[in-house]
Chain length 379, copies 2
Amino acid sequence: MQDKTFLMIPGPTPVPESILLAMAKHPIGHRSSEFSNILKEVYADLKWLFQTKNDVFIFTASGTGAMEAALANLVNQGDKVLSLIIGNFGARWANIAQSRGAVVEKLETELGEVITPEDLKEKLAQDAKKEIKIVTLTHSETSTGAKNDVKALCKIIKDHGAISVVDGVTSVGAMEIKMDEWGIDVLVSGSQKGFMIPPGLAFLAASKKAWEIHEKCLYPSFYFDWKAHKKAFLEDTTPWTPAVNLVFALHEALKIMKKEGLENIFARHKKIALGLRKAIRALGLELFVKDDENASYAITSILPPKGISVPDIRNGFKNDFDIVVANGQNQLKDKIFRMGTLGFISERDLITAVGSLEAVLLKLGYEFEIGSGVKQVIN
Amino acid sequence: MQDKTFLMIPGPTPVPESILLAMAKHPIGHRSSEFSNILKEVYADLKWLFQTKNDVFIFTASGTGAMEAALANLVNQGDKVLSLIIGNFGARWANIAQSRGAVVEKLETELGEVITPEDLKEKLAQDAKKEIKIVTLTHSETSTGAKNDVKALCKIIKDHGAISVVDGVTSVGAMEIKMDEWGIDVLVSGSQKGFMIPPGLAFLAASKKAWEIHEKCLYPSFYFDWKAHKKAFLEDTTPWTPAVNLVFALHEALKIMKKEGLENIFARHKKIALGLRKAIRALGLELFVKDDENASYAITSILPPKGISVPDIRNGFKNDFDIVVANGQNQLKDKIFRMGTLGFISERDLITAVGSLEAVLLKLGYEFEIGSGVKQVIN
């Protein structure tokens, strides 16, 4: 059956009909007062979403573009950067820092684990000369489904004196993240996640302290230049031609999000992710991130039962139910499958997901008490 | 009346209904075989459009992003770059080169003029030590409506030994431009122009010689990295999450363009632009680019008649006919108005434009023979 695909990957995520229709509107001039009026509302709503008084810039780019937009406005050659790495997206920070000529130190964990405050304290204590200027970290690590305690980690970074640069690509709009209250210096995100719109827009906000480091950056990116974006932000415009139709989509999405309210959005994601984890455990399957405390509410990584392969499970979902779930990335390929539960997703979808998973496992010969997963999520 | 706006600005340009609807489709996974199949066709069609055997990369970015993607993969600090500047977009190349630490020389003309082959020969002859590695230029200069003779200029650049880096943002898909035959080393473009789709995608192709310079680039941009894009191109994918829905739009647009054929597309733009210029002259108005030979077929800059202001003309278009025409930029603000005739535009639109212009001028008290403009375009 056509057009019945349901995306349970960590992005793109399902998009509400009203957003699809907003996006299909004919573009208008990006220098018109009509478009400025839209941007004015969008900029205000983005500050609300980021829980910040800082300006939130819009880039026409994917999340990786926003990550470059962070470090390409901060790093000079030879600068020391510490990258906290709990998976591929944490490693991407290190790669981007290196591409700018930084000397990168890494604090890495086993996949599925998170950086503990103790580990970070110890690492930063070794930096007696305070050479580390920037610490990069990931909130929700999409490749493993683990979640760093950004609040605690940023506090430690602040105490050291470095600035924190946080990947909130799969967390903003899905999980509690408070830029100002938690003392995050640079926060980036992308559109195809909690924002419920298709990929193509990315976001960045920077603290006063981050701006001070930016002032010393010798060769900031032209396209992602903070100063050009700041000037445009204050005039309700963008420095370059933005993806106008995606801004229409964003405008609509932010209205929907404000109507639901941040607390409700976060509670919904938490309830669905923890419900999924309960069901997975009831079915006798193993979660890649063991502890609920360390689990992302955006994406859940699951090990296949013994004797059943990840491709078999993914094919079962796709062929029988037109549900797309993700494979593991790189060294986790075929070791885990990942179910995204972020953005435009409800408890009804959770029942669908768990029921379908049971049907897929049953067909593949896995032995379990039928209904034991669904029971967890309808109770 | 709602939804009746007609864009005659140099981007965003009008978008066909089938493209708007393609864009409104629910996104699919960007790592799925369905999406790879789309990209495979799109990549092949982009080579056809660029008239090149080189790979053509897609960036989720605006045209300025593609310009950065060119120089951020070529320039090292201290490299000498020559920028041919006939307007704002030519100057942007120089700004981007400087942002990468290049030593920039400029060859500038009066606004409305173009770089002559003689001027360039003379300039490059002064570079006896062959220190200039890169020459940047603009095909269709959106800020003035002038058109450089890219074919002749690139020949001279090749003879010198430098590489040519060409802004084809408003020319690719609107005006004849042959990457391989003309010896263009790097060609960039953007989606909201001749491509007939909304802004948000940008394109770049590079010659073997450009790749050799890229190999020596110490700190290429991570987001725009050519190597990452090359690897992905060969696997019918993209290195980062692309703007999936804009790729749907592009897929549809390229089908429409192939159906019309390159020669027909170029002939249509030429006929409409030259028709507009004839009408403007017949109405007694002055064209900013005097010589048809030097005129872009994408955008036409016009001086208002004495005693009538540019804002009055733009308001007349907007209020009476819901047509958006552009003001001049920077020092040309209120000195010229610019009418875009690129992408999804037909001879019917030309009649509309000229007839509306006559009505606007009449209402503003300009004295002319009514119908003398329209007469030129219906003959």
